[in-house]
């Protein structure tokens, strides 16, 4: 009973979120590549330095 009520509360929150009503556009590959490069430089990504928590691609 309490679980059902909890799920209902979440749905209400979602329906009221104004952000959910927006349209979300398609992002070009060029823009993503440029951003990736910026993030990799800033955080030192892509060198295997981070400790994987969950990653099906690492299996």
């Amino acid at each position: 009973m309490s679980l059902r009520k909890y799920a209902g509360s979440n749905r209400d929150a979602k329906r009221d979120a104004p952000e959910a009503r927006e349209s979300f556009d398609v992002v070009t590959e060029d823009k993503i590549a440029a951003w990736n490069s910026k993030l990799n430089d800033r955080y030192g990504l892509g060198r295997g330095r981070l400790e994987v928590l969950e990653d099906p691609a690492a299996a």
Binding site: F24, N36, G46, R49
Partner: protein, 144 residues
């Protein structure tokens, strides 16, 4: 720092954040969009969590690649916290980025305590997991 930054989202979570830019301050991005967590890792030095992210779009659903995850069922949209049919672009690693799990990149939608809307059901997790493994084998995925 918001409390949610300390807890990594589970893989296959639908989260909300800015893609492909950071906060709206200096960019065109004005609204956090739905994103899919396709992997997580932690920086051993700073402790910061990083997420491999595929973005969601509500446009050009008819142009979806066979491997993309398209959510159109009304009941499923409701369960995932989405209002409109949404395509998560997972068919190529060239459409993904690795982002720190911080408020510079992620923001909760109104009414949510953290930028997590939901977690995919098992069958969708299997589909996404299998696509990610395929991409990894092909060397087409951003590495941590």
């Amino acid at each position: 720092m918001p409390d949610w930054e300390r807890t990594a989202p589970r893989i296959y979570s639908v989260v909300t954040g800015f893609f492909p830019e950071t906060s709206p301050r200096d960019t065109w991005a004005t609204n956090p969009r739905p994103l899919l967590v396709c992997g997580t890792a932690r920086d051993p030095d700073s402790g910061v969590v990083f997420c491999r992210i595929a973005y969601g779009t509500t446009q050009k659903l008819d142009k979806a690649h066979a491997n993309d995850l398209v959510v159109g069922n009304v009941s499923m949209l409701d369960d995932l916290g989405l209002r409109y049919p949404t395509r998560f672009v997972i068919h190529s690693g060239r459409h993904m980025v690795i982002m720190p799990w911080t408020s510079e990149f992620f923001r909760p939608w109104t009414g949510y305590p953290r930028p997590v809307l939901s977690v995919l059901p098992d069958d969708m997790q299997q589909h996404v997991g299998s696509v990610l493994s395929e991409l990894a084998r092909a060397g087409d995925i951003p590495r941590f």
